[in-house]
């Protein structure tokens, strides 16, 4: 299958090119990751906190969907990053680390606890923005190695 330019995909969705079911109903829901949650350089023993208001380092997602639709947002957040069989790097999120905006206000105009589900009503352009901060706590003897973890963002219309 030949890749289609993104713009053409969108045109197709709303003109019936892609498939009749796509045009028969409202705008589909999707989420887009826009920026890493980036903790930069770490010094062992020194925790680093990234604020959700940090435009350069906060995690940023864009939610796209039907105007006036209500969307549930749920983040599944790991407690730590893992390296190898046993090395871990603690990762923490607090009730102030989540933010939602409908106007690209960095950090969000509405805070939410990223450990709990939240809802947002999509504005006229059908877009909302989710911001995520957090804290990593490297130990003084933090082992060197490749650390990894998974963050899951779940989105769902609440009106179906």
């Amino acid at each position: 299958m030949r890749p289609l330019p993104r713009a053409l995909v969108w045109v197709g969705l709303f003109t019936g090119f892609a498939a009749a079911p796509l045009a028969a109903q409202g705008r589909p829901l999707s989420a887009v990751g826009q920026q890493d949650l980036n903790f930069g350089s770490l010094i062992p023993g020194v925790p680093v906190t990234v604020s959700r208001f940090d435009p350069a380092n906060a995690g940023q997602f864009e939610i796209r969907g039907q105007r006036d639709a209500e969307v549930q947002i749920e983040l599944t957040l790991p407690a730590h990053l893992v390296a190898g069989a046993s090395a871990t790097l603690p990762l923490e999120f607090t009730s102030a680390d989540g933010g939602i905006a409908t106007d690209r206000t960095v950090g969000g105009t509405q805070s939410f606890d990223p450990r709990l589900p939240a809802t947002v009503v999509l504005p006229g352009n059908g877009k909302a923005y989710v911001y995520l901060g957090g804290t990593v706590r490297p130990a003084t003897n933090q082992a060197i190695g490749p650390y990894s973890a998974t963050i899951t963002l779940t989105v769902a219309y609440t009106g179906n």
Binding site: R27, L29, S30, D36, E70, Y147, T150
Partner: protein, 283 residues
């Protein structure tokens, strides 16, 4: 010699676990369409489309799980997923299959997924529900090299999109009953209102809860339409932003109807509307 040097270097209180970036979030999601799927017992098949809007290949899985939106004690709505529903639950999740169930979708591609229902032979008439859960993750995991410390860090981002699937057999009907409508509080810039709804019949109510604020002349000065689904009972709290409105008396109007802009009306079961008003004073 080299090994010893490396060991010695790794024992140094490393100045930096360099470039430790939680790098999950640069993946684009898979768009799932349609967001509400309706399957009849006569057809037993349907399809969804997965569109990769991003710049990287995505690994996608399609699963089914019973669930529906519910409200909590604070009046907030959440999606309740029930992996092991009780035997009498109207769940279709156990007898739905997706083909393919897993796929790799290249950037710009769309993947058609056929959904087939294999219900029990003695399935009674009625409506059966499932959620379609599409999970996507970047096919190649992000890995970052961390300067001379050789720390590599990568976080996989998974994005899950949950859509609805409604399976109908035979006669299906719905209705809606208003259990509660009251204003909890009014401040200078917001109104908190509660709306309680219970559906009747054997099908979910799909419609819109419209709250409107009318001024003394009857003009609509604010409007808050919310697409709503009532599978059993909901009791919702609406926080309505009234900032900027002049102090005075207003009428808050509630209209619950089957009007939906985002779902083909052929799939929306008919139900009579409900309308109520309550007077509020702002400021």
């Amino acid at each position: 010699m080299l090994r010893r040097t490396l060991l010695r270097r790794s024992r140094i209180p490393v100045l930096v676990l360099a470039a430790l970036a939680l790098a999950p979030v640069i993946a684009d999601a898979i768009l799932v369409s349609p967001h509400a799927l309706f399957v009849t017992h006569e057809q037993r098949t349907s399809e969804i489309y997965l569109v990769n809007q991003g710049d990287e290949a995505e690994e996608v899985t399609v699963e089914f799980e019973y669930g529906y939106p519910v409200t909590d004690s604070a009046g907030q709505i959440t999606m309740r997923l029930i992996p092991d529903p009780p035997a009498d639950a109207p769940s279709a999740a156990g007898w739905l299959r997706a083909f393919p169930r897993q796929a790799r979708v290249e950037p710009g591609q769309r993947q058609r997924v056929r959904i087939r229902a294999n219900p029990p032979a003695d399935l009674p008439d009625g409506e059966y529900w499932s959620r379609v859960i599409v999970t996507s993750r970047r096919a190649e995991q992000p890995v970052q090299m961390a300067g001379d410390t050789a720390v590599r860090v990568g976080i996989t981002l998974q994005l899950r999109t949950i859509t609805s699937l409604t399976y109908r057999k035979g006669e299906v009907s719905t209705g809606i009953q208003l259990d509660d409508f009251h204003v909890e509080s009014v401040t200078a810039d917001s109104i908190a209102a509660w709306v309680g709804l219970t559906r009747s019949g054997n099908g979910a109510f799909l419609g819109t809860v419209l709250l409107e604020l009318h001024d003394a002349e009857g003009n609509v000065v604010r409007s808050w339409p919310t697409p709503a689904a009532v599978y059993y009972t909901v009791l919702r709290r609406f926080a309505l932003d009234t900032a900027g409105l002049a102090p005075g008396r207003y009428i808050l109007r509630l209209l619950v109807s089957t009007d939906r802009q985002d779902i083909d009306q052929r799939h929306v079961l008919p139900a009579g509307p409900i309308e109520r008003t309550v007077e509020v004073e702002i400021g």
